[in-house]
């Protein structure tokens, strides 16, 4: 292990383990929302993007259809595409390695990689790969543990799992609420979703808030 790479690997592994452990919450929530252990694990293996995974189980769990769920999850997955735009010129990979790189392009791998900039390009690449693979391994192991655990528990409400799901969403959105516009948007979106639930088909009260976000973005650009 060279002197350049070891602090990078340490950063990568600590992020991987901490973030991967949240997989327990996902696995448990997925099973509580009616998904099988296999389906929960496939979501972690194949979708491999926490917010999108919580969205699909949240929307379908609330009675929404597949299209509503997929749309909500995909809108949350757009940012991974933007991370890809940032990472491509750093990684400079093609063919099979690009196929693999794309799959592990998530918040954490991009974040750790960009944070290694003072240590140079090589550290940035190592940060991306070690964090990407590290989170992938831990996230999937912990998903399986959470799903099996929830399956063994029975009634999700008796264990508080039905409250764990909105709390997980809240934990995901909280750090994003920086400006007063962010906070207003959060409150308006939440109010809209609750107020329209009795009238709109399940799923639409959630997707509909995208238009509120677009209006807020257009207004702030003026």
């Amino acid at each position: 292990m060279s002197r350049v790479s070891s602090p990078t690997i340490r950063d990568s592994l600590s992020v991987s383990f901490t973030v991967g452990a949240y997989g327990v919450a996902f696995g448990a929530a997925a099973v509580a929302n009616g998904f099988s252990v296999l389906q929960s694990c496939l979501l972690s293996l194949l979708t491999f993007s926490g917010a999108s995974q919580f969205a699909i189980i949240g929307v379908i769990g609330a009675g929404g259809g597949a299209i509503s769920g997929i749309t909500t999850a995909s809108l949350l997955g757009i940012r991974n595409g933007l991370y890809g735009v940032l990472m491509a010129p750093i990684l400079k990979v093609h063919g099979f390695r690009r196929v693999v790189a794309a799959h592990v392009t998530i918040d954490e791998s991009t974040g750790v990689s960009l944070s290694q900039e003072p240590r140079g390009l090589r550290a940035m690449r190592e940060g991306f790969w070690f964090t990407g693979f590290g989170v992938f391994i831990f996230w999937n192991l912990f998903t399986l543990a959470g799903a099996l655990g929830a399956q063994a528990m029975g009634d999700p409400s008796a264990w508080g799992l039905d409250a764990a799901v909105p709390a997980a969403f809240l934990g995901l959105v909280w750090p994003r609420l920086k400006s007063s516009m962010d906070k207003s948007l959060a409150i308006v979106a939440a109010t809209f979703a609750i107020a329209t639930t009795p009238f709109l088909p399940a799923g639409l009260p959630i997707i509909g808030t995208v238009f509120i976000a677009i209006i807020a973005g257009l207004r702030s650009a003026k």
């Binding site: 929307v59 491509a88 709390a167």
Partner: protein, 102 residues
């Protein structure tokens, strides 16, 4: 195929397509400030809506129950800058206590 399987496969295919597309498109296409700004705001709106729907609705009804107490506990944990697992755990424990003992 049922809703759950369509959801699992559809979400996975699109999630990967978005990631791969990012590695393949020219940077300036997506770097417009307005696109970046809206892309920061969309997750805030969607996640907030999901918090709301998952804590105070059941099917198409608005219901205030043990989950709302759990959410309150999560907010308190976040105000005290607790880590993500603590936030989720405090919500689950609070909600479970009310569900089982009240």
């Amino acid at each position: 195929m049922d809703t759950l399987w369509v959801g699992v496969i559809g979400t996975s295919v699109i999630a990967y397509a978005l990631k791969y597309a990012g590695h393949s498109v020219p940077e300036k296409l997506l770097s417009h400030p307005l696109i970046k700004q809206i892309n920061l705001l969309i997750p805030i709106a969607l996640l907030s809506a999901l918090v709301a729907v998952q804590s105070v609705t059941t099917k198409s009804e608005i219901t205030f129950d043990h989950r709302l107490a759990g959410l309150g506990a999560a907010i308190i944990a976040l105000l005290f800058r607790a880590s993500f697992p603590i936030v989720v755990l405090s919500a689950a424990i609070t909600s479970a206590c009310i569900y089982n003992f009240l």
